[in-house]
Symmetry: C2
Subunit: 162 residues, 2 copies
Amino acid sequence: MEKELFVIMVLNAWNKALSQVDKLFAELSDEQLQIEIVPNGNRGIYLLGHLAAVNSQMLPLLDFGDPVTPHLYVPFIQTADKDIVDWPSTSELRSAWTKANAELAKHMNAATPDQWFQRHSAVSEQDFMKESHRNKLNVIINRTNHLLYHFGQLVLLKKRVQ
Amino acid sequence: MEKELFVIMVLNAWNKALSQVDKLFAELSDEQLQIEIVPNGNRGIYLLGHLAAVNSQMLPLLDFGDPVTPHLYVPFIQTADKDIVDWPSTSELRSAWTKANAELAKHMNAATPDQWFQRHSAVSEQDFMKESHRNKLNVIINRTNHLLYHFGQLVLLKKRVQ
C-alpha cells in the first residue's frame, strides 16, 4: 500500500514533466528547433536528440530491454551539439523521441510496486545492499529532474522567435 | 522502514538540486545576475528573488511556520520581472535565499517519516482522504522539479557572459 503510494507520486511527476516536454516539442517548428537557446549554446534540435537518447537508455537501466535508439547514444549523450558530424533529420529525431517514450510507458505501466524498489542495472547487488535507495524508482526521480532542467531551457526557445 | 527509504530518496534529490543552485548563485556576480537569460526574458536577479520567495512559502505549506520573507511573495511570485516597481537590493535577495533555505533545512531535518506523509496545508482533509499522494513529501518532489526548471535557465547565464 505504501509502496504503491510512492510509485504513484513519482510516476505522476514523471508523466507530468514528460507530457509538458512532449507538448512543447510538438509546438516548436523544425525551424525553431534550429535556433540556439543562448548564443553558442545548445539548439532545440540537440536537446530533442539528447532527451530521446536519455529516455531510450532508461530501458536497459530499468531492465526494460534494449534501448530503442542505440545509435543516438554517442552523438547525443557523449558529444556536444557543435561536434556532431552526421546529423539525423529532425523528423527522425522526433520519431526517436516518441518511440522511446512509448516503449518506456509500456513497461512502466506494467511494472509492479515491488519491481520499482529493486536495484537498477547500474548498481551492483553488493552496493545495493548498503544503499537501497538506488532503486528503479530513484532513476525516475533523477530523470524527471533532468527532464525539467532541459524543459526550463527549451521553453526559452519560444521567446527567441518572433 | 519503507517510508524512511522513500523520504531519503526524495530529500536527497531536493538537497542535491538546492546545493547546485546555491553554488551557482554564489558563483554569479551581482552584474551577471542583471543580465537577461534570453532577450526580454527573466534576469538572474528575478529568479533569485523568485526561488527565495518560493522556498519561503514552502514553510507554511509544510506546516513549518510562517514564511521568513513574506514581502517577496507579491513581487516575485505574482509579478513579472519587468513589472516589479520597488526592487530589493541584490544583497537583500541573496540573504533572503539563504535565510529561507536555512529555516527549511532546520524543519526538514527534524521531520519524522510519518510527518512527511501527512497532508500539506493547501489540501483539505476531505480531499486528502481520497488523494493521499497530496502529502508533504509530494510538495518536495514538485518543488525539486520547479527548482531544476529554473536551474536549467540559470546555468545559461554563464554562457551569456564573457
